[in-house]
């Protein structure tokens, strides 16, 4: 089982769309996939039409009194399940802080379902906190959607530095950055992409376009592959998944 976390310190960069769409692509390819919506906003949960409620509470999962498997809900798609968000996840940092070995909590919870899934996508809230550190410990790779702007460049480098400075915490974590919400008509986007690729050649080739098709996920409440199969953004997620698999 590979654990992939969609993460960026900055919000609104396409983390949830990435988690939902890549999970859908991976499942359509015959992989057994789980999405764990750790963001109390519950956008991934919303996209899958699941009610944002964990029976027994998110705290019970973190504490280990509730098996992760008992919180899992099937989505409408074959081989694709979800641990829904719960508004109480806003206290996740506090619960982890109270717990023994807080950084191992998410990894330990995932271990319970390691035989059932090929890939787990963790959709993380934007921040660097105890939650994100716990995610870093659990994940095999961080998928970092990055908008080609100055601010995004800064946050990407912040994350890179953090991982470099904390080798014990992150162990063999791979950072897989890619450009998200790209508008190729904007000269600034093109320029920043060139600059960032020069500075960070490890950034993935596949890019996700800025597209109203992706925004319509909120209307359809399903992954883009379900309502816009063959569209440009759907193909972009296919290409991204293919590249990620090669890097893992």
């Amino acid at each position: 089982m590979k654990v992939l976390a969609t993460y960026n310190i900055k919000g609104g960069v396409g983390k949830t769309a990435t988690a939902v769409n890549l999970a859908h692509v991976a499942a359509a390819h015959g992989n057994r996939v789980l999405v764990w919506d750790l963001d109390p906003q519950g956008a991934a949960t919303f996209y899958f039409r699941v009610k944002p409620k964990v029976k027994g509470g998110g705290k019970a999962i973190v504490r280990g009194s509730l098996e992760l498997g008992d919180a899992i809900k099937a989505t409408d798609f074959d081989n694709l399940d979800l641990v829904p968000a719960d508004f109480s996840y806003r206290h996740l940092d506090l619960w982890l802080d109270d717990a023994k070995k807080p950084l191992a909590r998410i990894r330990r919870a995932l271990r319970q379902v390691s035989d059932e899934y090929d890939y787990v996508f963790l959709d993380c809230p934007p921040s660097i906190s105890l939650t994100s550190e716990s995610v870093f410990r659990a994940a095999d790779a961080l998928l970092v959607p990055t908008i080609p702007t100055t601010l995004s460049l800064r946050t990407y480098e912040q994350l890179d530095r953090f991982v470099e400075e904390n080798p014990d915490m992150v162990r063999e974590l791979k950072i897989l950055g890619f450009f998200s919400m790209v508008d190729r008509h904007k000269r600034l986007h093109r320029r920043f992409m060139n600059e960032l690729r020069t500075a960070h050649p490890e950034i993935l080739e596949a890019t996700i376009p800025n597209s109203t098709d992706i925004e319509r996920m909120g209307v359809h409440r399903e992954p883009i592959g379900a309502y816009g199969k063959g569209s440009k953004p759907a193909r972009a997620y296919e290409a991204l998944w293919s590249e990620i698999q090669n890097r893992l």
Binding site: H29, G30, N31, F48, R49, V50, K51, A71, I72, K73, A74, D76, D78, N79, D81, D118, R221
Partner: protein
């Protein structure tokens, strides 16, 4: 995760009316509605079944692409379109996806065997909550075997993980709205029973239930029904090509039907008789190359064993030629058996057998007692056979023996198919020497046919520089020639045993004696 719950739909009404209840009354959303053929596959040792999974090859009606679906307890593990229009035979034929990689590992290098094939209408429906999220799926399935045996309509409720309570509530609603009875059998199991049993049929050599007093038309019809069931039982095996015995049984049933049609003048409606004789001849012809190829493969090792050991190894390459040839023949035959012609003919034949009007006032002797009619035809066939046999001499051409063999088959099939009407002892005393004689004639013809076919196929090796294999095949053909000559030499003696006065007198005793009170 909740287990799939299966129900047999016992409600009156057809597929469309039950489907309307599910959608209109219960508010289930129709996700898909497909029609077409589907076949189940497994390894010869049933690995997939033991793992509680099913592998289905679906060929939709129309131009849609066939697909392969691997499922566990009704839940789709993976479903992919197929490049090929025929089911996969080996694990390596499966699509290269992660899920199918798990299937390949499960199959573990084994071959996939084609199980039952049915024609189906399948509707998949979703039960939705107030967020329009699916909480349970319902699969509604109406299937029949390829020869028209209708299987019970089935309804499966598939709970989704985390929504087991919703599925239980749906089941309660379903039971209130549609007449259902719980079933432990899956559609695959029902299909398997349907194809195998053909609703009470037995093996190809079994006879129809006949009594001397029944009308000739009734008896002919019963014999046809019995033989049709025999064909149905072997049909899926013929398509899979895994066991040559299936094709053999199928062809025997076809030949018997042809014979009984031939001798059905004044019993069967002439127009139908002509049409079906023509179609059954075609059906026999399309299966002949594959049967011949089977015989080559079955007998080849025995023939090779007659050669000196130094020559045997030289024939390894030729065995590959035979295998390739057999694969080509099988593919061509399957295409014909899946053709529109075969489907239309099969449907017309079953309708003909099922329609009472087709069997009323259909011929001059149709209403006469069958024993009287069939004895006349048996005696006529015997007279013809004996007359032709007596003409055979050492100088007679091979074709004369082949024609005699056909006449012998006609007599034998009449006696066997209407066997229950006759006196058992008299029948046995005729059939024994007749079968021996047919074996001799069969050996003579088979060796000739095989020798010619091997010579043709050997041409494929002739282009190579190594002529040692060709030389070895020459040795095999020589052996066939020896066997053929032996058969021919024994003809006179074997025919004499059948043309014996005691045996011929037994024809007069075929009519059962009335029991004394």
């Amino acid at each position: 995760m909740g287990k799939v719950r299966r129900y047999e739909v016992t409600a009156a009404g057809d597929f469309a009316s039950v489907l309307a209840v599910l959608t209109d009354h219960l508010g289930l959303r129709l996700l898909s509605h497909d029609e077409g053929e589907r076949s189940w596959l497994d390894t010869s040792t049933g690995t997939l079944g033991r793992a509680e999974t099913t592998l289905e090859f679906r060929r939709p009606t129309g131009d849609a692409t066939p697909s392969l679906t691997w499922a566990c307890e009704g839940r789709v593990l993976v479903s992919d379109p197929c490049v090929s229009s025929t089911p996969p035979v080996q694990a390596s034929d499966l699509p290269a996806t992660p899920a199918f990689a798990r299937l390949v590992a499960l199959v573990d290098g084994g071959e996939l065997v084609l199980g039952p094939t049915v024609s189906s209408q399948i509707a998949v429906l979703a039960c939705l909550d107030d967020e329009e999220k699916t909480t349970a799926r319902v699969v509604f399935d109406r299937s029949e075997t390829l020869d028209g045996v209708a299987l019970p309509m089935m309804l499966e409720v598939l709970p989704l993980r985390g929504y087991e309570d919703d599925a239980a509530a749906l089941e309660k609603k379903l039971k209130r709205s549609v007449a259902l009875s719980a079933s432990s059998a899956s559609m695959k199991e029902l299909a398997l029973r349907g194809v195998r049993s053909g609703h009470g049929a037995s093996s190809g050599h079994d006879s129809a239930a006949l009594v001397p007093s029944m009308s000739a038309a009734g008896a002919w019809r019963a014999v046809f029904q019995n033989l049709s069931e025999s064909m149905t039982r072997s049909f899926s095996g013929v398509l899979s090509g895994n066991d040559p015995e299936d094709l053999h049984a199928f062809r025997v049933a076809v030949r018997r039907i042809r014979t009984i049609l031939q001798d059905g003048d004044d019993v069967i409606d002439p127009e139908s008789r002509d049409r079906f004789r023509h179609e059954y001849r075609w059906l026999g012809d399309v299966t002949t190359p594959t049967r011949d190829a089977d015989v080559h493969l079955i007998e080849f090792p025995e023939l090779v064993a007659t050669l000196p050991s130094s020559r045997r190894e030289e024939l390894a390459a030729f065995n590959d030629v035979l295998l390739r040839h057999r694969t080509d023949c099988q593919a061509a035959m399957v295409a014909e058996l899946r053709s529109l012609r075969r489907a239309e003919f099969g449907t017309a034949w079953l309708s003909f057998l099922a329609d009472d009007d087709s069997w009323t006032g259909c011929g001059e002797v149709a209403d006469e007692p069958v024993l009287h009619v069939v004895l006349m035809r048996v005696n006529k066939a015997n007279r013809q056979f004996v007359k032709s046999g007596r003409k055979i001499s050492k100088k007679s051409p091979a074709i004369a023996l082949h024609e005699l063999r056909k006449e012998g088959k006609r007599l034998r099939y009449l006696l066997e198919c209407f066997g229950p009407l006759f006196d058992e002892k008299a029948l046995a005393s005729i059939l024994k020497p007749l079968r021996e004689l047919q074996d001799v004639l069969g050996e003579f013809q088979d060796t000739e046919v095989q020798a010619h076919a091997l010579l043709d196929l050997a041409g494929e090796l002739a282009s190579g520089e190594d002529h040692s294999a060709l030389m070895a095949i020459g040795g095999v053909i020589e052996q066939l020639g020896v066997r053929g000559a032996d058969a021919r030499a024994s003809f006179s003696k074997t025919f004499g045993r059948f043309d014996d006065r005691k045996v011929q007198k037994a024809f007069d005793r075929l009519e059962p004696r009335k029991k004394k009170r």
